[in-house]
């Protein structure tokens, strides 16, 4: 657990430093995630060092959102005033995303499959 925690925090710090250099263009945690992924891919870091910690943290991720989510308390009015906007935007956009990803992926796979034949 300590080794895993060490590497996760190390990549988090690296991510934050790079994010700072990029003027916060991408959040440090996302950069840290990509760096960790690449380090595993190129065998700089061993997966067994991280397995336990990473699994425990990501399985129980939702609990970490609670404090920030409770901050909604200050925006109840804004929410109730914009319900139509919020729901229309989310529903239409989600449907579009599902359709686009599904169709594009399937089309590309068929293309590759056809080439192989």
């Amino acid at each position: 657990m300590i080794k895993g925690t060490f590497f996760i925090l190390l990549f988090y710090l690296l991510g934050e430093i790079i994010s700072l250099l990029l003027n916060g263009f991408i959040p440090g945690s996302v950069i840290g995630m990509v760096l960790l992924f690449l380090s595993l891919l190129f065998k700089i870091v061993r997966p067994e060092w991280l397995r336990k910690t990473a699994t425990v943290i990501t399985r129980n991720m939702a609990i970490f959102f609670v404090p920030a989510a409770v901050g909604l308390v200050a925006y109840v009015e804004l929410l109730s005033n914009s319900l139509v906007t919020i729901f229309s935007a989310i529903i239409i956009s989600t449907i579009l995303t599902i359709i686009v990803v599904g169709l594009v992926q399937q089309a590309l796979e068929n293309k590759i499959g056809a080439k192989k034949k």
């Binding site: 995630m33 992924f37 990803v101």
Partner: protein, 236 residues
């Protein structure tokens, strides 16, 4: 001699109490969800439904609650980093499909962000609301971070993410069948890209490959969206 009531007052405004309140509400949410299987009873939502009124009634300021539960919020960043490991675990599923997967998630991310921003703007949403809506399809910690970076509100983003996840998980399989998507990779990818972990739950019901690909899609979608939002930000 009011020392006992004084001590109780201090205990009830300390870290231990607020952490217990948070963990307790969350556990209740987990219990309710497992018992009823009602998709709306996400532990995160249940916790909010308990804690928000609690703070209102007791008159405890949100800032105090947030400070005392810092321990939990701190973990948001590390948990995103840890997703890098989860992504790595799924690598074997994408051999030979790397380019097609990256392309379709990229297009999906672009369409998702543009459409949600455009519709919100059509309805006259301000920057605060638009910036909180834009990252709706990515996993909560990344969405909160992205919203905050672009002038939105993390807690609003968290709620929108949950709405988006619930809706996509509910209608996703139906839509995919309607438009004739048969490839397992395409199905898992679509559900994970549009509806993150809640889409993945549905994808896992469809099959192991769908589930694994969907989990992978969460990570790729997070990165793509983080890369794209700064370019779309000027329209917020």
């Amino acid at each position: 001699m009011n020392s006992i009531s004084e001590h109780i007052r201090i205990l009830l405004s300390g870290e231990v109490f607020f952490l217990l309140l948070t963990l307790g509400s969350f556990l209740l949410g987990v219990f309710l969800y497992k018992r009823t299987k009602i998709p709306l009873l996400q532990p995160l939502l249940v916790s909010m439904i308990i804690i928000i009124p609690f703070l209102k009634i007791t008159g405890i300021e949100y800032q105090v609650f947030y400070e005392k539960t810092r321990l939990l919020s701190f973990m948001l960043g590390p948990s995103v980093v840890a997703l890098g490991y989860v992504l790595y675990e799924q690598i074997e599923y994408i051999r030979g499909n790397v380019i097609s997967i990256l392309t379709s998630v990229f297009v999906g991310s672009l369409v998702g962000i543009l459409s949600v921003v455009l519709i919100a703007k059509l309805f006259g949403a301000d920057r605060l609301l638009t910036a909180s809506l834009a990252p709706k399809s990515v996993t909560t910690p990344i969405a909160m971070n992205l919203a905050e970076n672009t002038g939105g509100v993390p807690s609003l983003a968290a709620v929108f993410v949950v709405i988006c996840g619930l809706f996509g998980g509910l209608v996703g399989p139906l839509i995919l069948r309607r438009i004739g998507v048969k490839s397992s990779i395409a199905k898992g990818l679509a559900l994970g890209s549009a509806s993150h972990a809640l889409g993945t739950v549905k994808a896992m019901e469809m099959g192991v490959l769908e589930g694994a690909i969907s989990g992978l899609a969460i990570g790729i979608m997070g990165v793509m969206t983080a890369l794209l939002i700064p370019f779309v930000e000027r329209f917020f």
